[in-house]
């Protein structure tokens, strides 16, 4: 009896000190993450204006959806959920995310496989590959904007000299190529990140498996499909989740690189425009809240779906 109370006192103390050690982190997290998030969600339900946030009035769901009856039997839906601008932004974001993350994964995998083989100067190449990732996005977007410039850009110059195109392409201006330009820059920039994460996964694969496969005379393609890929799958999936999360809130590349139109406007760009450019702070807050919900939902369902897959493979 006495020993049990002693243990429970001890464990109580341990739990208490655990909370004590966690407390500073929890307080900071609440201040810098929870509070702003709660404020944003709150403003989404008000009619706040950016320079008079203290005078905000609660208006319920009207920023999200509202039916305005014109009184003559006719009416119209207003609000985010009825805003075609918002849905085109959602669509642009999803298209951007799926396409760029797909190519980043494929290229990342190829680069990681190359970097995993031993050759002379491997350390140097590994470091060099990371350079695009190390450049701040604003800088690389601006740099690419100049390279893609229709009159002075080096990209058009190179393509024309190679006789691949006859007239310069207005990469960022033309509605047909603007989104492609954004994706190109994003793929260029974040493939190294993918490669790095996948490389880490590759180095976890024990060498003796390959030796055994060699002795059994398994051909390289089969080896890759049956041995390497399943073993690095968890690492690849983590990398994909990270990248997809990042890509869903893409802002800077689009903002710097392309004209501000419906073809490339993403959810973040849409939210910022309403928050700061227009006098619609509350509407922008509502958009930010939806952005948060969409990202959370997609991430959770992706993790859920892939965990099932991983378990099935095992």
């Amino acid at each position: 009896m006495t020993t049990r109370t002693a243990i429970s006192t001890l464990s109580r103390q341990r739990i208490l000190s655990a909370w004590l050690f966690l407390a500073p982190m929890l307080v900071v997290l609440a201040a810098v993450a929870l509070y702003p998030l709660a404020r944003t969600i709150y403003f989404g339900f008000t009619d706040a204006s950016i320079d008079f946030t203290s005078e905000a009035q609660w208006i319920g769901f009207r920023n999200y959806l509202e039916y305005l009856d014109y009184g003559d039997g006719e009416g119209e839906y207003f609000g985010l959920l009825a805003d075609e601008g918002w849905w085109s932004a959602v669509w642009n974001t999803l298209r951007f995310t799926v396409t760029s993350v797909f190519f980043e994964t494929v290229f990342g995998l190829v680069i990681a496989l190359v970097l995993n083989t031993s050759f002379k100067g491997r350390a140097l190449v590994r470091a060099a590959v990371l350079i695009p990732w190390a450049i701040p996005t604003i800088v690389s977007a601006k740099m690419w904007a100049w390279m893609m410039h229709d009159q002075f850009g080096i990209l058009n110059d190179m393509l024309i000299r190679l006789h691949l195109i006859s007239d310069p392409i207005a990469w960022t201006a033309s509605p047909d190529t603007a989104m492609i330009a954004v994706m190109m820059v994003d793929i260029w920039k974040t493939t190294p990140f993918m490669a790095l994460l996948i490389l880490a996964g590759l180095q976890m694969v024990p060498a003796d498996i390959y030796e055994a496969a060699k002795l059994d005379g398994v051909n390289p393609v089969r080896l890759f499909r049956k041995v390497t890929l399943p073993l690095i799958m968890p690492a690849v999936l983590v990398a994909v989740v990270f990248r997809a999360l990042d890509a869903l809130r893409v802002f800077d590349i689009v903002y710097v690189l392309t004209p501000n139109n419906d073809r490339t406007r993403t959810m973040s760009v849409f939210a910022r425009e309403n928050l700061f450019d227009f006098d619609k702070f509350a509407y922008g807050s509502a958009a930010s809240t939806l952005l948060f919900l969409i990202v959370a939902l997609l991430t959770i369902s992706f993790i859920y779906a892939t965990r099932m897959n991983v378990e099935a493979d095992e």
């Binding site: 950016i50 207003f78 201006a173 004209p259 006098d279």
Partner: protein
């Protein structure tokens, strides 16, 4: 030891002096284009010398849309970091509450200013900012090329289109493959609103939102104007113009690769500069009209200096604004940056006329310039402008016809307006 004592004494004296003179640190924010930054720095150096205050320049991106969002953030946070803001002519009505009323402070000099400029900065009887310089765009043209091909300076947009096409084709045939006919500001931002309202007004299509708040933009003349503009893309104007701002257009024109350019007055001084390939080869005229009998329309631009209500040194800031807008500084800016001044007297200055021959000629253009509907639409102006430039940008990039986009625009503006602006 003696030296150290001397040094300490000097330091103490200097501190005392600066304290007694009440020297303060001020910050002015502006979005620099062309030579704005170096000229402002020069003027601030003189101010520092005269008063002992220190003034720091905070620089902003080129796009007025970007600048304005940042201003709003600072003002919403009641930031004391910035004392003087250089505000776009359209900004006054939207952020008037955050600025000091300058009416009394400048009661002695306000009558010397261009009335239209002062009027644009009055919000409910409050003077939000003291006009610094104006903008009324011009059609820049290559005099040498027009002479070479025996063409007149175009009076209508249709003539401009034909002339641009002819000269461009001929020049390209002669081996100048990079030559274009016309460049302007076609990116989806405030600049496109300025360009497009000029086309439409000069076709007799009215304004985006009329001064009384009514919406009549969806009309045949406006559609005709946009259709003509659409026909330029990919023919006389590079497709990239859909992402051009002021400096992109100037880049093409100043490197000698465009026959015509629509741009603000600042480009004149730069294109006429010693390092400019088109120096002495170009001239400016008023923007063309859409049809015989219509009037040329030039958007009223300009940047004006307001003192933040949250400044810790409002008196020094008011002194700084007065200094920057005095005769000598306006004259210097007119000569060095070719920006139209806001003091009536500077237009008549002989030195200015000698250095920038077009400034005296530009007085009537400035006096009759076309304002954007920022007064009528109040705090919704940015959204109105964004809807307008989106409709125009969609038309230019082939996403829907002018008629369709204008009809959509009308519906959106009406929805935005509701019962009143």
């Amino acid at each position: 030891m003696k030296h150290i004592g001397k040094f300490t004494a000097a330091l103490a004296a200097a501190t005392m002096l600066s304290l007694s003179a009440g020297a303060t640190d001020l910050a002015i924010v502006h979005g620099a284009i062309g030579k704005d930054n170096e000229v402002l720095r020069k003027e601030l150096d003189r101010f520092e010398e005269q008063t002992g205050h220190k003034v720091e320049i905070v620089s902003m991106p080129e796009s007025t849309t970007d600048q304005f969002s940042q201003y709003k953030l600072w003002l919403a946070a009641k930031s004391t970091d910035i004392d003087v803001y250089r505000i776009d002519v359209i900004g006054a009505a939207q952020i008037a509450d955050h600025f000091v009323d300058l009416k009394e402070a400048y009661a002695d000099i306000i009558d010397d200013y261009v009335p239209a400029a002062v009027e644009s900065q009055m919000v409910d009887g409050k003077l939000v900012a003291l006009p610094m310089f104006l903008g009324a765009p011009a059609l820049y043209y290559r005099k040498d090329l027009l002479d070479k091909y025996g063409e007149e300076v175009p009076a209508t947009w249709q003539e401009m289109t034909a002339t641009a096409q002819k000269i461009m084709d001929a020049e390209r045939e002669a081996g100048n493959g990079d030559m274009w006919g016309f460049v302007f500001q076609g990116a989806a931002y405030e600049g496109l609103t300025c360009n497009a309202q000029e086309w439409i007004a000069s076709f007799g299509g009215g304004r985006i939102v009329e001064a009384d708040g009514s919406i009549g933009i969806n009309n045949d003349k406006a559609a005709e104007a946009l259709d003509l503009a659409k026909s330029w893309i990919g023919t006389i104007a590079p497709e990239g113009v859909l992402n051009y701002k002021e400096e992109d257009a100037r880049g093409v024109f100043q490197s000698g690769n465009a026959v015509f350019m629509r741009n603000w007055n600042y480009a004149y001084a730069l294109a006429a500069g010693d390092d400019s390939p088109v120096k002495g080869k170009f001239a400016v005229t008023t923007l063309p009209v859409g049809a015989e009998g219509e009037k040329s329309a030039a958007t009223l631009g300009g940047w004006h200096l307001g003192v933040s209500k949250y400044s810790e040194h409002p008196e020094e800031a008011i002194e700084l604004v007065r200094f920057l807008n005095n005769y000598d500084n306006q004259k210097e800016r007119a000569i060095e940056t070719s920006r139209p001044p806001t003091l009536n007297a500077v237009y008549a200055d002989a030195d200015v006329a000698a250095e920038q021959e077009f400034i005296p000629l530009w007085k009537p253009v400035v006096d009759n310039a076309l304002p954007r509907p920022s007064a009528a639409t109040k705090r919704k102006y940015n959204e109105v402008s964004s809807e307008f430039w989106t409709a125009v940008h969609n038309t230019l990039s082939g996403d829907g016809s002018a008629k369709q986009n204008l009809a959509k625009l009308e519906a959106k503006l009406k929805r935005l307006k509701g019962n009143s602006w």
